[in-house]
């Protein structure tokens, strides 16, 4: 076999047209019809193949033969016995579309696995390690912001507040192993019926929700749901997951800076809505378990839920809807009614 190319003396930029002949394991190099080098191919070294970039044959004295004929050189390399297995493997997978597609599929699967399995697991594990001091710092900051941006002072009467506070402290005292110092705050939020929980155990309930409720047990149901969020460290889990995604993406795509912002925002957003459903279900589960344990009929939850649903469909566009990220309310009502039937019988 004969390959055309250029010959360079060691370290010199002068090039001569050359022919490289290989016959079995022997080679000779011909420059202007004259054989200037001959020997066996096992004495030669070869540059790695990358795409279709030119290849070099390096002779023992350091002189070089350069050629574009990649396919022929590959045959010579494998015959010479000087083939590096890893580079041969890389060369194969870099050249085949099926390996490229396999890589894409693998990357998508890996991304899915990390987002749906690894991150939730790590978030859950880490959220329980975070010291309470951190929870308190975050919560007081968040409370300040919420008061500034969203909340106004509660307009409920002191009697009403005291009544709810009393039934709330009875509820808290009846709960098992309180790791958090639960506190109830009253705020008004532009007529929206809503309740929030912060990671350190502070719970906020809006005037409208109190007004919609028919008895303290209904409020307790909502409060138990909010305690469920704190108890399961949902806020902390979500924060850990979002920040882990941002860090991982900025590490992995250090050279994709143009897209970085887009990529960082997208999954955080996707996960947030996917995650909240699970969190709500978990908080509901906590609430229903405690209601059964404390002998409060879950029917109260079903009732207040229906009240809120009606209220929201009546009032149209409220700033923040209680159900904005919550699972379908009718499903939750059904679940509460089912448990109510099981444990407390038909009413």
């Amino acid at each position: 076999m004969t390959l055309e190319g250029y010959f360079y003396e060691p370290g010199k930029s002068h090039r001569s047209l050359a022919r490289f002949n290989v016959d079995g394991i022997k080679y000779d190099l011909i420059v202007s019809e004259e054989s200037i080098k001959a020997g066996v191919i096992s004495d030669l070294s070869f540059s790695e193949r990358i795409g279709n970039t030119p290849r070099k044959v390096i002779f023992q004295d350091g002189s070089v033969f350069e050629t574009q004929n990649n396919n022929q050189i590959d045959k010579v390399v494998s015959k010479s016995g000087n083939e590096n297995l890893i580079s041969r493997l890389l060369q194969v997978i870099e050249n085949k579309w099926r390996w490229a597609i396999t890589s894409i599929a693998f990357l998508i699967l890996l991304g899915y696995f990390i987002i749906s399995v690894i991150l939730p697991w790590a978030g859950r594990e880490l959220a329980y390690i975070v010291p309470n001091k951190v929870n308190e710092t975050i919560s007081s900051g968040a409370m300040g912001l919420l008061d500034e941006q969203w909340f106004d002072k509660s307009e409920l009467s002191d009697d009403k507040k005291n009544e709810i506070q009393e039934s709330f402290s009875d509820l808290i005292n009846a709960l098992p192993n309180n790791e958090f110092n639960y506190k109830l705050n009253f705020r008004s939020m532009n007529g929206a019926a809503n309740a929030f929980s912060l990671p350190d155990g502070q719970i906020i309930i809006t005037d409208e929700l109190v007004r919609l409720s028919e008895n303290p047990k209904q409020i307790n149901a909502i409060l138990l749901h909010e305690i469920g969020h704190t108890h399961n460290r949902h806020v902390m889990q979500q924060m850990i997951r979002s920040s882990m995604i941002s860090v991982a993406i900025s590490m992995a795509t250090s050279d994709l800076s143009a897209l970085e912002d887009l990529i960082v925002v997208l999954p955080v957003f996707l996960i947030k809505s996917g995650y909240s459903q699970d969190a709500e279900n978990e908080a509901d589960k906590y609430m229903l378990d405690q209601m059964v344990r404390l002998q409060i009929n879950p029917i109260h939850f079903a009732n207040i839920m229906q009240k809120i649903t009606q209220d929201e469909s009546n009032s149209g566009s409220n700033v923040l809807k209680y159900f904005a990220s919550h699972p379908e309310p009718s499903m939750r009502v059904k679940k509460a009614l089912k448990i109510s039937n099981e444990f407390f019988g038909e009413i």
Partner: protein
């Protein structure tokens, strides 16, 4: 002048070919938790260099992945050490930060040397022989220390002459104006405003110094590059770039302002909602256009000027013929390619940009390229040179 042959640089890289290399690189880098990224970097550079050729002879990249991995591991260890020690001893953290800033010129110098040495064409290596003290001058002293020092002196003189500050308290001056910044309002203003404005005013000058530093100290074998650059040209290009950016931002802003006045008159909620989403889109378009257009303008003008005034061995000329609009189109279309393929078109965007940047360069008297010889001692990399590569500090020179 004798008739000299001028040849264009040719770039043979293909999007489809590079895509396969890139995706395998990405895959293996993730699979090996980043260790393979050193190999990925070498293979990428080898592909891009190997696809660039002058008269059928390609460039070649020689760095060994192990050396790059070693540099990255050292850099990573330093980073860990910095964040751990910085957490434990905040004061020591500040000391380390100062140390890091003070070592940036060294890192730049190291990486310039490393990259030049690892590049060859026609069997002959490049080399960078700039002096370390010059690197300190151009990357630290002139851009940062000089503006600070000048404004400190002016601020201090002002304080002494106008406010009756005692000269012998010079050593307390900085801590005094820091502690009583209300009382020393004008002193602080002169110090901060002065250093920032001197820094900004000197940007074109510093760009010129860095380019000259690079193109007058790089060699191809025994042949030296030389570059004769005028600072006035840099000021001109920078001012024009500023004007281009300002025009792109100002024009639509005026239109938006007009709309805003109109919408204030008729208080229709629906129209306002549509209007604000339009305004948001407009803002985004303007931002992108101004970034891409000013970058394209600056890059093409600077590169054309610098290349055309650089020669090798006093007999081989280089010429660059970048066009602002064509480059702008490549930036813009690359951006949308990335968006619509969720990043999968990244290799294609690199190929398109590299191809245009390479193929607008031509070499005159290319026959003379056959007369160079590698200098033997260049071949061995000095210890720690690869660390410069790992930090990936911008040198202000794109080649």
């Amino acid at each position: 002048m004798p008739d000299k042959k001028t040849v264009d640089i040719v770039f043979n890289g293909k999007g489809s070919e590079y895509f396969k290399i890139w995706i395998v690189n990405l895959f293996l880098s993730i699979l090996t938790l980043g260790i393979y990224s050193a190999w990925a970097k070498v293979r990428t550079k080898r592909y891009l260099y190997g696809s660039t050729s002058i008269e059928g002879s390609a460039f070649e990249y020689h760095a060994s992945p192990i050396a790059i991995l070693k540099g990255r591991l050292i850099a990573f260890a330093l980073l860990i050490m910095y964040s751990v020690l910085g957490q434990l001893f905040p004061l020591f953290g500040i000391f380390l930060l100062i140390l890091l800033i003070a070592s940036i010129p060294w890192i730049v110098w190291r990486s310039l040397k490393f990259n030049a040495r690892m590049t060859s064409h026609r069997n002959v290596h490049f080399s960078f022989n700039g002096l370390l003290k010059k690197s300190y001058l151009y990357y630290l002293v002139i851009p940062y220390i000089f503006p600070l020092l000048i404004s400190l002196i002016v601020s201090f003189t002002y304080s002494v002459v106008i406010n009756g500050y005692q000269i012998e308290y010079f050593y307390n001056y900085l801590s005094d104006i820091y502690k009583f910044s209300d009382h020393y309002f004008y002193e602080t203003l002169i110090l901060v405003g002065g250093s920032v404005s001197i820094y900004i005013l000197m940007i074109p000058y510093v760009q010129k110094l860095k380019m000259s530093f690079y193109f007058n100290n790089i060699s191809f074998g025994q042949g030296k590059f030389s570059s004769n650059l005028l600072v006035s040209k840099f000021y001109l290009i920078d001012i024009l770039t500023f004007l281009v950016t300002a025009a792109v931002i100002l024009f639509p802003s005026l239109i938006a302002y007009g709309f805003l006045l109109l919408s204030a008159e008729n208080n229709n909620d629906n129209i306002n909602e549509i209007f604000f989403s339009l305004l948001f889109i407009l803002f985004y378009v303007v931002m992108l256009t101004s970034i891409f257009l000013s970058t394209a303008f600056f890059t093409s003008k600077i590169r054309n000027y610098v290349y055309s005034n650089t020669e090798l061995n006093e007999n081989i000329g280089i010429n660059s013929n970048l066009n602002t609009w064509k480059l702008f189109w490549i930036y813009l279309s690359n951006f949308f390619l990335m968006i619509f393929t969720l990043g999968l078109a990244y290799p294609l965007t690199i190929i398109r940009k590299t191809k245009y940047m390479a193929e607008t360069v031509s070499i005159s008297n290319a026959e003379a390229l056959s007369l160079f010889v590698s200098e033997q001692e260049q071949q061995n990399s000095a210890l720690g040179e690869e660390i410069g590569e790992a930090f990936d500090v911008g040198s202000g020179i794109e080649f």
